[in-house]
């Protein structure tokens, strides 16, 4: 009996004495979006980066708005998001000193096969949204200040609709990430705007298909920024910059382009595009 007690005591002491690996080894925290994570891009990119530089990249996947706020609090070293207007605001605040475009893909309007709004196949996203509202077809909004959400709200504005005022019970604001939004759309037979990357890697499609794609206004640009070490001295500026430099290097850009699901490319590198 006494031996059992000693064993138990040692086990407890053992557990208490294990300190998790200290953050002093080479690692950075990147606040990014659910679309880059859920699409599996990071699972493809980060091992390559680690192999080259030995740096561990710890990704916190949040919406764009949340990710930028994490940067503002100094809780991340790098932010990697996709809403240019929000990123430029971040810059204007001095939270970062430079924005680097990295890659783009596009958004798609997902909807049920049964197509209650009758818009499947159109190339005009704005017209499609107008029709959805007129017909009161169920629509899922992420409502989480993510890049996708910001893009969706912009499109309503372009359609001349004040969605905050004019929404009805057909418009469901769930306040969650892309995966959750797609799950909800699948279960509710509703329309939802998604980035193509997450859609391609989403496994629970149910009856959902792409309803509208190809409109130039569905263009989705990703940018990366180093959180300003002048504002947050704890930021690992050197390691963070290494990550950014790799992303925009020809090697990093090629790795991004190489990421495919079922032979289809998800993200298109465009770090050299001056207008991105």
């Amino acid at each position: 009996m006494k031996r059992l007690h000693t064993l138990a005591a040692l086990a407890v002491l053992g557990i208490l004495s294990i300190t998790p690996a200290s953050a002093e080894d080479k690692s950075i925290v990147v606040a990014s979006t659910t679309s880059t994570q859920d699409s599996g891009l990071f699972g493809h990119l980060l091992p390559a980066f680690k192999q080259k530089t030995g740096i561990d990249v710890k990704v916190i996947a949040q919406g764009t708005g949340q990710a930028l706020d994490t940067g503002r609090r100094g809780d991340a070293d790098v932010v990697f998001v996709h809403a240019k207007s929000a990123e430029e605001k971040f810059l204007a605040e001095g939270q970062s000193t430079k924005r680097y475009p990295v890659m783009y893909n596009d958004f798609v309007l997902i909807g049920p096969k049964s197509d209650p709004a009758g818009i499947k196949g159109t190339k005009d996203i704005v017209a499609a949204l107008k029709t959805i509202k007129e017909k009161g077809a169920p629509f899922i909004s992420r409502g989480d200040r993510s890049g996708t959400n910001i893009a969706e709200l912009k499109l309503w504005k372009v359609a001349g609709i004040d969605i905050a005022k004019d929404k009805g019970p057909w418009y469901k604001d769930i306040g969650q990430g892309m995966g959750a939004a797609l799950n909800t759309a699948s279960a509710a037979n509703a329309y939802v705007i998604s980035d193509r990357g997450t859609w391609l890697s989403f496994k629970n499609r149910g009856d959902l298909v792409i309803a509208v794609e190809g409109d130039k206004r569905l263009f989705n640009q990703y940018g990366v920024m180093l959180v300003n070490p002048a504002k947050h001295p704890n930021v690992k500026a050197a390691l963070g910059q290494q990550f950014i430099d790799w992303l925009i290097s020809s090697e990093g850009q090629k790795t991004i382009a190489d990421y495919k699901i079922n032979g289809q490319q998800l993200f298109y590198p465009n770090a050299t595009d001056p207008n991105a």
Binding site: M1, L16, P20, V29, G43, I60, D75, G179, N204
Partner: protein
């Protein structure tokens, strides 16, 4: 649905390495939280049980109420404290397993403290005369009761572990659900479900429930056997 279950079964059987990393981290976080919490809350519960002091009733009520502290609230409190822009930001603990342990310790301490207090208080009714007659001092009384009630207290620890192992709200906020670093069974289930990858979510759910059952069975049998052999 059936295909999901089959895939889940296959996943568990294939001993996927990342699966084991996730399970290992979950156990490490929750067991550590229980261990640290026990260090604080068992003596605390015993001292409250054995001493009268002004405001005692208030403290007992507060501790009992805190047993129902919502995990997300605990997570929020720890998050605000550990964020770089928060009071303890310089510790750099946000988004680490340590932060998760802290949050779960916060959740588990009221449970263990309240159950300890109740157990010790009940035992004190029985032991009071004898220990007073033997002139046993305050600290020694607590030690005697804690030791004699160790098997009942194990149930309190078990309740704490159950709460820690099952929650996701606190650790997802303070841990950030980072792949390979702060991802546990519960946070992975949440993530995989939202990604629509149900086999993985089901597999982890089954493992989690299995572990909780196992730990319960282990503690129960230890309690019974130990009590029988030592007369406790």
């Amino acid at each position: 649905m059936m295909s999901n279950l089959v895939s889940a079964f296959e996943l568990v059987h294939s001993f996927d390495a990342s699966l084991f990393q996730i399970i290992g981290l979950s156990l490490f976080v929750s067991l550590s939280a229980v261990a640290w919490s026990a260090l604080i809350s068992v003596p605390l519960g015993a001292l409250i049980a054995l001493n009268a002091f002004p405001g005692r009733t208030f403290i007992v009520v507060v501790i009992n109420a805190l047993m129902g502290l919502p995990p997300v609230v605990a997570g929020l409190i720890v998050f605000l404290s550990l964020s770089r822009s928060g009071p303890l930001g310089s510790w750099g603990l946000l988004f680490t397993p340590t932060a998760m342990i802290i949050a779960q310790t916060l959740l588990v301490t009221p449970i263990i403290a309240a159950l300890t207090r109740q157990t010790i208080e009940d035992a004190w009714i029985e032991y009071r005369d004898e220990l007073t007659a033997m002139n046993i001092g305050v600290a020694a009384r607590a030690a005697t009761l804690i030791w004699d009630c160790r098997y009942s207290l194990m149930t309190a620890l078990l309740a704490g572990f159950g709460r820690a192992a099952a929650e996701v709200g606190a650790i997802i906020i303070v841990g950030g659900n980072i792949d390979g670093f702060t991802r546990t069974m519960t946070t992975t289930i949440a993530l995989e479900t939202s990604k629509g990858d149900l086999p993985r979510a089901i597999a982890l759910g089954a493992v989690l429930v299995g572990i909780i059952i196992l730990v319960n069975a282990l503690a129960w049998s230890t309690q019974r056997l130990g009590a029988r052999f030592s007369g406790a």
